[in-house]
């Protein structure tokens, strides 16, 4: 991020009447009068106001915008629970092969045997890693996977004539969990964490009964702590006929070493844009495959890729399928990348991933433990949460100020103010792809900032100072909503 100081005009502000980049092929058929056979009331009087630009205008605009954007390719990006690992370049090469990129989703199976074989192999690999019986690849992201998983659980209970109403989630859960629970038609029941930072086993015992459809857990949890009582938790749930749901956001901590299925989980979603190294695209696309135990397979979304008895690949529908969760077959281009990651690393390579992720997190934690409060004791798994509360108390410097100051030092900040149960939380996930030098440099920056918080707190409160903009006014953005550009004359009064 070179952080160019001059603002970049919007596409629309650079528009000049009569300029264009596009060329439309001559098909041999005249366009004139083409719209006359449509009802007059439906045809457009004026074209949408798209910008009028040359191709060079477009390229320069986006090149300049790119220079105003930080990425994992530029530097350390230790967002807790986001698993911002390096994205292998070979994945981009293989996803762009015309044999994957130029397939229409309605092509029949005999034309896409290679892709179907890939999808089946990916499913098999994910099943093995998660300890599940079968996987659907349709969900487009983790939250879509959650909703799919909960819908599967609903279908399972209803097939048994049971109308359960509640889903348990820990108070440290990601926000998508409760939101998905509601969309699946269930009531959210929050379970507190205990003094060790793990879900409170006694609280589960008190809550769990025949009304409970499932418990959703991230393991390790958002504090980076492994839920040691997981087998007991699974037994409590299963004894009441409830299901145990694994939120795969933190799978990177255990991939290749421990499997949710062995812990008693019944439904597992995986975030391939986290654990399997596919790029996050500035917010997406991802993919959120969902694995299930044998008793839930018959409810999986369809159609599912399958190898048929004659050895050919095709599609199969489960007898009690909940239906489709994606308009076509999911984010195939992302799944192709994930598959290339899986075969690159293999079983042993994936095991290395979690080992190095856990090593890096514990090492970095040891490096910053003197300067920040550790609400729960080490060791941790792949990430950890420290608190800036001592700095806030001493000088008023908040986690946010420390985050903004890291930007001036060339680092993307960690996640702050999450999980909600830790005051002034700073949630750090280094991932396995970072070197010891990077971790040392980041720890040194955090140490300097801890010192500066005492000696020059105002400097931290002014940060960042090296970026194109500084501390945008978010309250103003919400109060005076400007969600799009209008030509100056057309702008609605605000």
């Amino acid at each position: 991020m070179t952080g160019g100081v001059a603002p970049e005009p919007l596409l629309f502000e650079s528009s000049r009447a009569g300029r264009r980049a596009s060329t439309i092929p001559a098909t041999g058929i005249s366009r004139s009068g083409a719209r006359d056979r449509l009802p007059a009331g439906l045809t457009s009087a004026t074209a949408p106001q798209l910008p009028e630009l040359s191709e060079r205008d477009i390229v320069r605009h986006y090149t300049r915008l790119a220079h105003r954007n930080f990425s994992i390719d530029e530097g350390f990006y230790p967002l807790g629970s986001c698993t911002m690992k390096y994205n292998p370049k070979i994945a981009e090469v293989v996803a762009a092969l015309p044999g994957f990129a130029r397939l229409h989703p309605a092509q029949p199976p005999d034309q896409v045997q290679g892709l179907l074989e890939l999808l089946c192999a990916l499913e098999a690999g994910l099943c093995e890693l998660a300890g599940m019986a079968a996987v659907t690849l349709q969900p487009a992201a983790g939250a879509a996977g959650e909703l799919t998983g909960l819908t599967l659980i609903r279908a399972y209970h209803e097939s048994r004539g049971e109308h359960r109403t509640r889903v348990l989630i820990p108070d440290a859960a990601h926000g998508t969990n409760p939101a998905s629970v509601r969309l699946a038609g269930y009531e959210v029941v929050e379970v507190p964490s205990d003094a060790s930072g793990r879900i409170d086993l006694e609280a589960i015992k008190e809550i769990v009964d025949g009304r409970v459809a499932a418990l959703m857990l991230t393991n390790p949890n958002t504090l980076g702590l492994f839920e040691r009582n997981i087998t007991e938790i699974a037994r409590l749930l299963h004894d009441c006929g409830a299901k145990l749901y694994y939120d795969g956001a933190n799978l990177n901590a255990i991939v290749g070493r421990a499997r949710p299925g062995d812990m008693g989980f019944d439904v597992v979603h995986l975030n391939v844009h986290k654990t399997f190294g596919t790029p996050h695209g500035g917010g997406g696309p991802g993919a959120g495959p969902v694995g299930v135990t044998p008793d839930l397979v018959r409810f999986l979304p369809g159609p599912r890729p399958a190898q048929l008895p004659d050895g050919m690949y095709g599609w199969r529908d489960e007898p009690d399928s909940i239906g489709r969760v994606h308009g076509w077959h999911g984010n195939i281009g992302i799944l192709v990348r994930a598959y290339s990651y899986l075969i690159s690393l293999g079983g042993a390579g994936l095991r290395h991933v979690s080992e190095r992720a856990v090593l890096n997190a514990n090492y970095l934690l040891a490096r910053v433990a003197d300067d920040y409060d550790l609400p729960y004791p080490a060791p941790v798994m792949h990430e950890f949460v420290v608190s800036a509360r001592r700095h806030r108390r001493a000088s008023g410097v908040r986690a946010l100020d420390i985050a903004k100051s890291l930007i001036d030092r060339g680092f993307h900040p960690m996640t702050v103010y999450f999980p909600l149960i830790v005051d002034e939380a700073m949630m750090i996930e280094p991932t396995e792809t970072e070197s010891r030098e990077t971790l040392d440099a980041f720890a040194a920056a955090l140490r300097e900032l801890a010192e500066e918080a005492a000696t020059a707190p105002e400097t931290l409160r002014q940060a960042p100072v090296t970026t194109p903009v500084r501390r945008p006014d978010e309250a103003r953005a919400a109060r005076h909503l400007v969600p799009r550009w209008y030509p100056p004359a057309d702008a609605p009064a605000s």
Binding site: R37, I72, A101, H273, V325, G346, H352, P472, A478, L481
Partner: protein, 485 residues
């Protein structure tokens, strides 16, 4: 290092030793042992060994070679995904790692590039859909319809949803999947003999609907009477949600300007690779007064501490990470990079290109429909004006599609319609008159073959046939027929 595979970890043995010394533990295993119960650990998984990068590429190329691409034949496939050209400039922009390898723009100071690009996307989406507020993307067109329905439920406090039979069956299926969780009751309104949603049926539909959901043009390619449907829906106290083909916005008035309350679209075919249906993106636009019910991320313009224009994620109190179970949606990761592709593509098109694109597709579709009618594949809805796609009615659409595929013409999918299954034919700006003539000739030949009158090997040795023969020497395409699976 293990096998020949690569795990992208940079640690040297010396690093590991030094790091363990800082931690005062003997091994990485000790870190796991302290936390994960031994009985939950696995020693080895049943997965193949890793591969060197060259082996990965070779393996993936072998798999890719076992697929026939749309370029191996002539692509008339539609049903929601279309073979529009993707200009080189799109790949040049979205391939930039500053966009591709960034996370969600939670730190605006480091993400102004992404945020501004998404603000521009929202502006473009607002223009082509015809409503003032568009979010910064959803997963795809189908899930965007589910989100639109959810907004209508909250806006009206009702739970009945009227869905036009002209809405793509795949989209209907996704909505049906979520119906039990949303607690909605779906009523399908059949299409009439002209292939359009029957407004008369709307009058006799049960009362108290939250939404009327239509697709425009609909799954049969036929344009809907959006203003009249809007009026009817509003009279019944329901909102109108329209799933629109955004690339026809140069010729068709964006539905938001015709009375729709929410307009959605699928961005797959607008600058993204077909990629067997994803990743593309969903677009959703609404009225300003409904913005608090909008799902997903929204970028807003504001001022920074020094009074400069700045872009931020805004109205986050709607979203799951703040509002949790009371959020408007559960969406977190969206399809930002695909939205960027749509924005670059629309910028490349410009207003004149958008009009020309639409007119080219309309003109081609009209010509192709005439030629196919002459070849014995008449339009399924002769009284229904269509856009770039149309449905033909033949005796056995599956067999015709399979036969055409053997000659390199990829046509379909087959969809259910009143009076029996119909075959869809989509015409983009990439289809030429010569290809349309060849398609018509091939339709005639395949129909003769199917009725046992023609030569067994078909009479139309068109361009498509030779191309497929060259591309897939291993065997003919299309034996299994084209279907929406």
């Amino acid at each position: 290092m293990t096998g020949s595979g690569m795990d992208y970890t940079p640690h040297t043995d010396a690093d590991v030793t030094a790091m363990l010394a800082v931690l005062d533990v003997a091994s990485v295993d000790a870190l796991f042992d302290a936390q994960v119960p031994a009985e939950l650990c696995v020693d080895k998984l049943d997965l193949p060994d890793g591969m060197a990068e060259a082996e990965v590429l070779a393996h993936m190329k072998r798999l890719a070679a076992r697929n026939s691409t749309v370029d191996d034949g002539v692509c008339w496939l539609g049903g929601g995904a279309y073979d529009h050209y993707v200009p080189a400039v799109v790949g040049a922009v979205v391939g930039r790692p500053e966009f591709a390898t960034a996370y969600t723009p939670y730190q605006p100071e480091m993400s102004q590039g992404n945020l501004q690009a998404l603000f521009e996307f929202q502006t473009l989406a607002s223009e082509v859909l015809g409503l003032p507020v568009a979010n910064s993307s959803l997963y795809d067109g189908a899930t965007a319809v589910v989100e639109a329905v959810t907004m209508c439920l909250h806006a009206t406090g009702r739970s009945r949803v009227l869905v036009s039979g002209g809405v793509d069956p795949r989209v209907q299926a996704v909505l049906r999947t979520h119906a039990p969780g949303l607690g909605i009751d779906i009523v399908i309104l059949p299409v009439g003999a002209d292939g359009r949603t029957d407004v008369g049926m709307l009058a006799s539909a049960p009362d108290g609907a939250a939404a009327l959901v239509i697709q425009h043009p609909n799954v049969f390619g036929v344009v809907e009477d959006v203003p009249r449907l809007a009026e009817s829906a509003h009279r019944a106290g329901a909102q109108l949600a329209v799933s629109f083909d955004l690339l026809l916005s140069g010729v068709l008035e964006p539905p938001g300007r015709l009375g729709a309350d929410i307009v959605t679209a699928d961005g797959l075919s607008a600058g993204n690779s077909l990629a067997f249906g994803g990743p593309g993106c969903g677009l959703l636009a609404c009225r300003t007064e409904d913005v608090r019910r909008l799902p997903g991320r929204l970028v807003g313009r504001t001022l920074d501490a020094d009074g400069r224009d700045a872009y931020v994620l805004t109205l986050q109190a709607r979203e799951q990470h703040i509002r949790r179970e009371r959020a408007t949606s559960n969406i977190c990761t969206n399809q930002a990079l695909n939205a960027l592709a749509v924005a670059v593509y629309l910028s490349w098109l410009g207003p004149q290109g958008l009009v020309e694109l639409g007119e080219t597709c309309l003109a081609g579709a009209a010509y192709a429909a005439d030629r196919l009618a002459g070849a014995g594949a008449p339009p399924a809805f002769p009284r229904g004006p269509f856009g770039k796609e149309f449905a033909v009615r033949v005796d056995d659409p599956h067999a015709l599609a399979a036969g055409l595929a053997q000659h390199g013409h990829l046509v379909g999918p087959v969809v259910a319609a009143p009076g029996g299954d119909v075959l869809l034919v989509a015409v983009t700006e990439q289809r030429t008159q010569a290809q349309m003539d060849d398609l018509a000739a091939t339709v005639r030949a395949v129909r003769e073959e199917l009725s046992g009158q023609g030569p067994r090997n078909g009479g139309a040795a068109g361009a498509g046939r030779s191309r497929v023969a060259a591309a897939s020497p291993g065997g003919p395409m299309g034996a299994a027929g084209v279907g929406v699976s």
